[in-house]
Structures are given as structure tokens and as C-alpha cells.
Symmetry: C2
Subunit: 212 residues, 2 copies
């Protein structure tokens, strides 16, 4: 055995989170979001991301309460769904992704939009009270905002980390500007991704922020 690298999972987690706490700018965030920011940083390897997170409302508390009450997690893509650590979920919560719904292809064609946006419509009857985690598609976030702004079902919390060069920054700014009065956490700009989105879910799901 080569002793040159850390092999103990608990020790690796503890050292990782100690480094993040020492380096990441958390001061602009409420205490309830520190654990969430730390896990998001852990997922991407960039401490400065903590300083760029934006939020509205008490998103960690609202999300945790919703999950404790049995609310589902709705993910915009399979990677986010697969990144949710099931043992952290407090109520055996469902983790849903509408891309696998048989209605999604038909809705995408009918609405002239992406499968990611149609997947939000396909799960429309699950949105009320849910925790929404978007880690890929700007169109999914745009569509969610449209549905809520039109008086549709209101999720308990929105974790918005769409990524990329067309619509990602715009969709996250639209969320912050929409005045939905729904607790949310987002990373403005192009950066984001499924690892950040599922890390945010995992942090909100369980108060023990520093366990695997």
C-alpha cells in the first residue's frame, strides 16, 4: 500500500470542509446557507463560487421543511437526480426527472421547445411544494418561472444552477428579477452544473452538512 494519499473517507471529508471553511467567502450569506455554500464549493473545487451565490428568502429552511414533509425533489436532468444522496433525504423523498416521462417528447413538439422545458410541464402536478433543482438547462428554469408567474403551482424552494453560454445567465437573472416570492438559491452568470445543483439538494436535505 502506498501511504502517500488520504484513503479514509471521513478524514477526507473533514479536511476538505476545513479547507473550504478557511478559504471560502461566506460572510455575505446567512448562517443557514453556510453549509449549502460549503457543499456547492466542494462539488466544483472553486472557493470563490461561495462569494457569488445569490439567494432570496430562507431557502435552506424552506427546502429542508419541505423535504421533511415528504416533498419530492424535481431535477431537470438525470445527472442531478443521480447526484442526490438518497440516504440524506429525510422522508424517503421521491427524486423525479421529467426527461423520462412519456409525455415529454409530445409536449416538447407541441410547445416548440426543448425536452428540458417540456419535462417541467410533464411534472406540473408535482411542482407544488417541491424542491426544484436545475443543474443543466436554462430552458427548464425559464419554463418554471413562466409557470409560476402565470399563477401555476408554487414550489417550496428553487435551486437554480443551469450552466452554459445561451440562456444560463439570463435565466438565473430572470429568476432573481421575477418577484416570485419563492425562496431560491442561484449562481448568476454562465457557471453552474449538475454537481452544484445536487450538492445544494444534499446540503439542504440533512442538517449534518459535513457528512458524505
Amino acid at each position: 500500500r502506498d501511504p502517500a494519499y488520504d484513503r479514509d473517507p471521513a478524514a477526507i471529508y473533514a479536511r476538505s470542509f476545513a479547507i473550504i471553511r478557511a478559504e471560502a467567502p461566506l460572510g455575505h450569506l446567512p448562517d443557514t446557507l453556510h453549509g449549502v455554500a460549503i457543499r456547492v464549493v466542494h462539488a466544483c473545487g472553486m472557493v470563490d463560487v461561495a462569494g457569488r451565490l445569490a439567494f432570496q428568502g430562507d431557502v435552506a429552511t424552506a427546502g429542508r421543511a419541505a423535504l421533511a414533509g415528504g416533498a419530492p425533489v424535481i431535477a431537470d436532468c438525470r445527472m442531478v437526480a443521480s447526484g442526490v444522496i438518497r440516504r440524506r433525504l429525510p422522508a424517503g423523498n421521491a427524486v423525479l426527472c421529467g426527461l423520462d416521462d412519456p409525455r415529454t417528447d409530445r409536449l416538447a413538439a407541441a410547445n416548440g421547445t426543448t425536452r428540458s422545458a417540456a419535462a417541467i410541464d410533464a411534472l406540473g402536478d408535482q411542482i407544488a411544494g417541491a424542491v426544484i433543482a436545475i443543474g443543466n438547462a436554462p430552458t427548464a428554469l425559464f419554463r418554471l418561472i413562466e409557470i409560476i408567474a402565470a399563477g401555476g403551482p408554487r414550489p417550496a424552494a428553487i435551486l437554480a444552477f443551469p450552466v452554459g453560454f445561451v440562456g444560463a445567465a439570463e435565466s438565473k437573472q430572470a429568476l432573481l428579477d421575477a418577484g416570485l416570492a419563492i425562496p431560491c438559491l442561484t449562481l448568476p452568470g454562465r457557471m453552474g452544473g449538475s454537481a452544484m445543483a445536487s450538492a445544494a439538494v444534499n446540503a439542504i436535505a440533512a442538517p449534518n452538512e459535513e457528512a458524505p
Copy 2:
């Protein structure tokens, strides 16, 4: 319908890749890696990542040939496996993740190491000729290097994007320093992640780099 955002998947892809080609530093990379770098950038929203990729050998050609010949993709975590776009794989290739292997828990305990490292051992008889995609665990990459350096099975290509604060940078530097003479692509430093690793697989899998 709100016409304020792009909804056409092909148009979104085309605009995204045009922006990346205009902004990302690709000049230090061989032509065969441009498409790979573009998809990695697309997955993380950061054009400067292209300029920091490091490689050895003709990793895109070697990886593509291996997949065309039916080689499996071995992922270190479920998120990487779920991010591999199956329709891009040229031979209905298997996408394997040893975390689900019943031997992994036993090997982790017996070897005093992480489940991620043990998962590499559990798939030991699949490593020869495979395309390895690591998007999470430094210990998985360290263990792979140990196996190869000890004269064990040799994969066709290694796509190394472990992420984080304990071992990620060190494991990627170890790969570059190990002299394994196996084609590889990596992002030195703390940054990485499952989205980058699966994007690299998806780029290598199919020559049409700019299709979903």
C-alpha cells in the same frame, strides 16, 4: 409563448459552440482535442478551462478507437455514468460504475480505502482497453495509477477530472508524472467534476462534436 429565450435545441447548441469557439483558448491543443475541449467548456460554463487542459498522447483518437472496438466506459461515480449520452457511443458500449458492484464494500474494508478506490479494483478485469472517466474521486485516480504502475491492466485512455480539495490536484499531477504511456486528458488543480468527465467521454465517443 414568451419569445424572449431560445427554445430550439439545435440552435442553442450551435450558438453555444460558436461562442465557445470564439472565446476559448484552444491554440495549445492538437486539432483532435478541440472538440473535446469545447464540450468540456460547454459542461462547466468557463472558457478559460480550455487553456488549462493537459494531455499526453493522442487521447481522442485512442479513446475513439477503443469505443469503436466495443470497449466499455468505466466511470468512477454514478453521475459520470449518467452523463454519458448513450446514443453517441459507437458500439452500444457498456458504461460501468464499480460503486454498484457487490465486491466494492468488501474491497474497501479489506484495503482500508474509499469505496471509490475499491470500485476500481472491483472492475479490474474490465480495465484493459477501456476508456476510464473519473469525475469525482481522487482516490479512484490514485488507485488506477497504482494498478497500472504495478504492471496491471492498461486502459486505452484516461479522462481524469477528479475535483476538490484533498487529493484532486495531487492525483492529476501524479497521473501526468507517472510515465504510464497511456493517452490521457486532465485538468490540473482543484477543479473538475462529473460534468466535465462525461462531456469528455461524449466528445470522444462521436466525431460530430457539436450535436446534442
